[in-house]
Symmetry: C2
Subunit: 155 residues, 2 copies
């Protein structure tokens, strides 16, 4: 069954590329054996660098289930998720992920997944896109406000 859904993701990814709609990626989300969301990469179509197949599929599935968590759902990706999508997988609390190609296959076609994985382990200020912490007196005020709230929706 896992191979069947993964195969579907590969076919969708190839179609997306060959019809010039976007990058060669697709993702499918399944709950209790039922397909609940599928998407291919929509970065250029939507002019949105975050519109990777996995992110799109997570958004679609959350909309369908009216829930910001996807516990008990399985994600099938034509390629190993990039760090952005990996983060989204944790925030969505998916149960498991199956993928076909890996980050090195992506790199062979000019996609930076592998490079971003390398950058993450560097100290923020040493990265190729420098990330600099500026110390401000009330920096933690948002968290203090959050911690004191009684009626907040945890996520």
């Amino acid at each position: 069954m896992h191979k069947k859904f993964l195969q579907q993701a590969i076919i969708l990814a190839s179609e997306n590329a060959s019809t010039l709609k976007g990058g060669p990626y697709a993702a499918i989300i399944v709950k209790n054996g039922e397909l609940i969301a599928a998407s291919s990469n929509c970065v250029t179509l939507h002019t949105d660098p975050t519109a990777h197949a996995e992110i799109m599929a997570i958004r679609l599935a959350c909309k369908k289930l009216n829930d910001f968590q996807l516990s008990n759902c399985i994600l099938y990706c034509s390629c190993e998720p990039c760090p952005m999508c990996l983060g989204a997988i944790y925030w969505a609390r998916l149960e498991r992920v199956y993928f076909a190609c890996n980050r090195l296959d992506a790199a062979d076609s000019g996609f930076d997944d592998s490079f971003i994985y390398d950058e993450i382990s560097l100290p923020p200020e040493k990265r190729q896109i420098p990330m600099i912490q500026l110390k401000l007196k009330d920096a933690v005020k948002p968290f203090i406000t959050w911690d004191a709230l009684k009626n907040k929706t945890l996520y």
Copy 2:
């Protein structure tokens, strides 16, 4: 000037929490000294686990500039970006990032940023959300299709 924009992000993040709209985070994108996009965290508001402030601000800025890349833009975040947002920053090719709090401040308020950073360095199959590569015969077909395309939009 950097402190001024970062301060604005902190105020927006506090307001978002105190008005119960969502998590205690905000992000601002600036190009040539001009604010072009601002957003707070919208995860619970939009029922979308990917609707972090940084992702929302990147989407808004791309829409405004009609470009899927944000070269020459600076991102100001009330907190160090999580791995999902870090990935999005690379895909959007932002120039630089300034942040106020860090991942440990976020962890103190119950947010998993730090945990996700730890998970990334593990082999995919050893993670708390297992990520398993299934070998399929035509796994790389989407990339072969992509490589052969002549009129594709690179991103």
